[in-house]
Each structure stands twice: as structure tokens, then as C-alpha cells.
Amino acid sequence: MSIKIKEYAGTPLREEDLKQGKVLSFGYWPKAKYSWSAGVAIGRYLAELRNARVVGRQCDKCGRTAVPPRMFCEWCFRPNDRWVILKDSGVVNTYSISHIAADATRIEEPLIPTVIQIDGTTDAGILHLVGETDPKEVKFGMKVQAVWKRPEERTGAITDIRYFRPIER
């Protein structure tokens, strides 16, 4: 009972308490390694990225084209019907300007993580970066186009697209 409790448990430490050994601490580096199966849908998606193509899957029942592709339509719950080769361009659905890396350390050149709605789809955005622009110039609804790695550099990964660049202002 909140008002009746005088002392709450918990012993806060400072980083220095650990560094200076005031409190014992134990480091551990796990080996957590995997080899993930891309499967039918993402397998083809990644293979096509190597060909500098973006592909989606279309459902005949609701007419929706999904990217990243999956072999089922989650809304109709049925196998979807066909592969669709999409344009490698789209519009900015939402964006941000990142000054930090994945581990929360600061980075010099800000990145522009963006959800890009691929042209020819109704709701299918993908996560990627926008580049070749001043972050201040990025706008909602701005048209962007994929900038691909050179063919010999492409491995069949989402990073085969280096980033998307604005194609009109």
C-alpha cells in the first residue's frame, strides 16, 4: 500500500561501481549464431534484388500487392496468387533523421530512415534509407528512386539497394 510503505527495495549502482570492482560483475559473450531460411517468398525477393528488381505478391481476392512479399494474404487468409514486378521507385510515407547507430552511439553523418511506399502498391511500404539529399530537404510524399549497388557488388540482400534518392523536388 503505497502510502504505508516507507522504503522500496532496490540498490542502484553507478557504472563506476562496476568498473572499479566495488561490486562484482561477470562479462559474457554468447555465441548465438543462426542460418535463417529465407523460404519461398523472401528467397525470391532477395534473389530479385540481386537482379535490381523489387517484387511483390498479389492477392486476387482483395487485389492488394504486398512487399516484402509473402506467399499468403494475411487479411484474406489464403494463398496469394502471383508475383508482380514493381518499380524501384516510390514515395516517402514517413521519415526520420538518425544521429545514432544501432547500439546508441553517436554517428557523424545523419542517416534518413524512411518508410517508402513502392509505386504501384496501395499500402506496401518498406523500411530503407534516403540519401543524396540534405535531411532538411526530405518531405512527406516526396518521390524517390532506388540507387543500386553495382551488379558485381550485389549479394541478394536488402542492402543491394544502397538507398533511395529524391527524383523530384
Binding site: M1, I3, D17, I100, T114, V115, L127
Partner: protein, 386 residues
């Protein structure tokens, strides 16, 4: 429903950036306090459910199993429920299922998080929540998705940043009255707007901290609850809902999953008009805009209206609709699952009028707590009544 279920006891630890206690010890302290608060012994507990977020924080695989003894589950029916950040409010829903099903008279609900074990920074664990094949290679940071969602929300409703910052100011100040708070401070809207930009539009003071901590509540069926206490607080509505994992395929401006979960909980609680019937709310606020987003999902106001309510002071503790009187995650701290359950503790204390300096004025009878989780996907909602 088979049985009405009440919260009869609650406990929590301090929320800390780094705790010396192990996860087991944190769980113990919270569970022990919850039992003591209602005068129960461990033998009186029929089952235990644990809520805890990724194993990658504590650094123990199958950490639900690791935490058994600290959670008081020795030789008891024990499970771990897990819906990402939504876990803290799902755990009491899972506990409610244990009791309302008629299987148990009592259930101890414990939530624990020891994020500080994760190195180099708890943020690093969040890289591993992204899709392993289509997103992780881009090196995403957790804050990215919040920034993307926040920006979309601001764009659609034309919300100025300062109205959002008002939430952070309010919650960090409310937390000054919370004895467990990690980041209670008196700050201004300008402080928020001038704080370090992490991922625009998210700045340092828009974010809750990473924390170690635990919380616990004791649930009991109606007949048992009335024997334990004169003032049980009833769990009258529960709802939970998960949207598609393809988060980039959705319009992030509105949390439909929260609305679905809220509708489920309100229907069960017989609430027709939440704006009239809810006396105060504890929506999930890991980021300041999230509180606003969730108020809208909880249908406590119209879409895009929440920022004005925050700006005009309606959501202050003494306002017409107090929101996060505890100080929320922004002020008290964010040991993921424990933070969600802290909100249930707050409802319990407030509805029993035991919240001390944090007590909302008037005579609150009905309140809602909510948590959110996964990739902008999961809504968990509990309605409680005095």
C-alpha cells in the same frame, strides 16, 4: 463471465538504471511486497504468471524459467506470458484468465526486467527485434521506428512538437511524487525542445530511460478477495490485440490495435462512453507522443485531439482527465514489463485512495491502464473499478 476478479495487493521495487540485485532478487522484492500488502503467504497463492520482455536484456535464455524461485513459483503452476512491451499489462490479463476461468482462487502476477545486463547498451538488444532478412541488414535502431511513427502522427495531424513535449514535462514532474522514480525532474517544454536530437523528431527528453526493476500484483476471485480486503479493486475489462508484423505496410498515424483492444475491454466492462466514464488513465508512455497516440486509441479523445488536451492542462493530475498521474515510464522509468505492471499498481493505489501525494483529486471510480508493444503492433488494455 465465470468469476469477477480483483486486485488485492501490489508491490514494486525502485526503478533504477542499474540494480545490484539479480533479476530473481528484484522479482522477489516486488512479489514479497505484494503479498505483504494484503497479508497473504505464499501457500495462499494458487498460480503464478510472469511477464518479462526480451531474454536479450537479462542475458538468460528461457529467462521465465530462471526467474521461477524469485517469483514465488516453487512447485506451483507457473507460466511466462510475452507480448513485447505490452507484456506489463498483458500479465494481469493472463492472471485474470487464471482466476476468471475458475481454475484458481488466487494468482500472483510478477513482472521483472534487468535491462542493464545487456551490453554495450540495452539499445543493442533492440536491433534483434527487426526482421532478420529484410530490416536488420540496414542497421536499424529502436528509436527509428518511434521517430517514423511520431513523424507520421505529427504530419497527419499537423502537431507542433511543443504540444508533445508537454507530456514529458508533465510526467517527469508527476514522478517527483513517486518514491520509486528514476527520472523525476522539473523541466520545461524548452528543455525538451533543446535536448539532444537522437532521431528526429525524437529528442533525449522525449524518451523514457532504460531501467532495472520489478512489480507484482495479487489477484483473487470475488469471494476470496472479499475475505482478504474491504477494498478490492476489480478488473472489470480486459482486451488485447496484435496488428500485422508488416509494420511498414500500415499507416502509423493511428494505433488501430489499441482501439480494438480498448473496445474489447470496454465492452466487457460495460463502458459505452469512455470519455465520460473513465476517471483517469495510465496509457503507455515510453515516448511522450505515445501517451497522446494511446489516449486516442483508447478513445479518450478524438484522433489528433490529444496534443491539445496535454497542452491545455486537461491531463494534469488535477485536470479534468488525469493521465499518467504516476509519472509514467517517462518519469518513473521503463523496465519494460515491470513498467506496464507499475501502471496496474498505480490504478490499484489510486482507486483505493492510497496514492499519497500522487492521489488524483475527486473520487475516482473507474480507470484504464494500457501498454503497447512489438513493432507498433500490440495493444493491451485493463479497466479497473474501485
Amino acid at each position: 463471465m465465470k468469476k469477477r476478479v480483483a486486485v488485492v495487493g501490489a508491490g514494486m521495487t525502485k526503478f533504477m538504471r542499474r540494480a545490484q540485485e539479480t533479476g530473481k532478487e528484484l522479482a522477489y522484492e516486488a512479489a514479497r511486497m505484494a503479498l505483504d500488502s494484503c497479508g497473504l503467504r505464499i501457500e495462499d497463492i494458487g498460480s503464478v504468471t510472469m511477464g518479462s520482455a526480451p531474454d536479450a536484456f537479462d542475458g538468460v535464455h528461457m529467462k521465465g524459467e530462471y526467474l521461477i524461485d524469485g517469483a514465488g513459483a516453487w512447485r506451483k503452476p507457473y507460466m511466462r506470458n510475452y507480448v513485447g512491451g505490452g507484456t506489463g499489462v498483458f500479465a494481469p490479463i493472463h492472471g485474470w484468465q487464471h482466476v476468471a476461468s475458475g481454475l484458481f482462487d488466487t494468482c500472483l502476477v510478477v513482472c521483472e526486467e534487468k535491462m542493464s545486463s545487456c551490453r554495450p547498451h540495452p539499445q543493442a538488444a533492440f536491433l534483434t527485434i527487426f526482421d532478420n532478412l529484410t530490416e536488420r541488414p540496414l542497421g536499424p535502431n529502436l528509436v527509428w521506428i518511434f521517430a517514423l511513427e511520431m513523424h507520421r502522427y505529427m504530419h497527419v495531424h499537423k502537431i507542433p512538437k511543443e504540444k508533445i513535449a508537454a507530456v514529458s514535462v508533465k510526467n517527469k514532474r508527476n514522478a517527483m511524487d513517486h518514491p520509486c522514480a528514476q527520472l523525476a525532474q522539473k523541466i520545461t517544454v524548452e528543455d525538451v525542445l533543446n535536448s539532444e536530437v537522437l532521431v528526429w523528431p525524437v529528442q533525449r527528453l522525449d524518451i523514457s530511460p532504460t531501467s532495472d526493476g520489478a512489480a507484482a500484483v495479487v489477484l483473487a476471485s470475488e469471494d476470496v478477495a472479499r475475505k482478504i480486503t474491504d477494498s478490492p479493486v476489480w478488473i472489470d475489462g480486459v482486451g488485447w490485440n496484435l496488428d500485422t508484423a508488416y509494420w511498414t505496410n500500415r499507416d502509423l498515424y493511428y494505433p488501430q490495435y489499441v482501439e480494438n483492444a480498448a473496445k474489447m475491454a470496454y465492452q466487457m466492462a460495460g463502458i459505452k462512453n469512455p470519455r465520460q466514464e473513465i476517471d483517469f488513465a495510465e496509457p503507455y508512455d515510453p515516448f511522450d507522443y505515445k501517451e497522446l497516440h494511446h489516449m486516442e486509441g483508447l478513445m479518450l479523445c478524438g484522433k489528433g485531439e490529444a496534443p491539445d488536451l496535454a497542452w491545455e492542462g486537461v491531463t494534469q493530475r488535477d485536470g479534468k482527465l488525469p493521465v499518467c498521474p504516476s509519472g509514467g515510464l517517462l518519469g518513473v522509468g521503463n523496465p519494460i514489463a515491470a513498467a506496464g505492471l507499475m501502471k496496474i499498481c498505480e490504478l490499484f493505489w489510486q482507486l483505493r485512495r492510497e496514492a499519497g501525494k500522487r492521489q488524483v483529486p475527486g473520487d475516482p471510480k473507474t480507470a484504464v491502464a494500457q501498454a503497447w508493444g512489438d513493432l507498433m503492433q500490440m495493444g493491451t488494455v485493463v479497466v479497473m473499478r474501485a
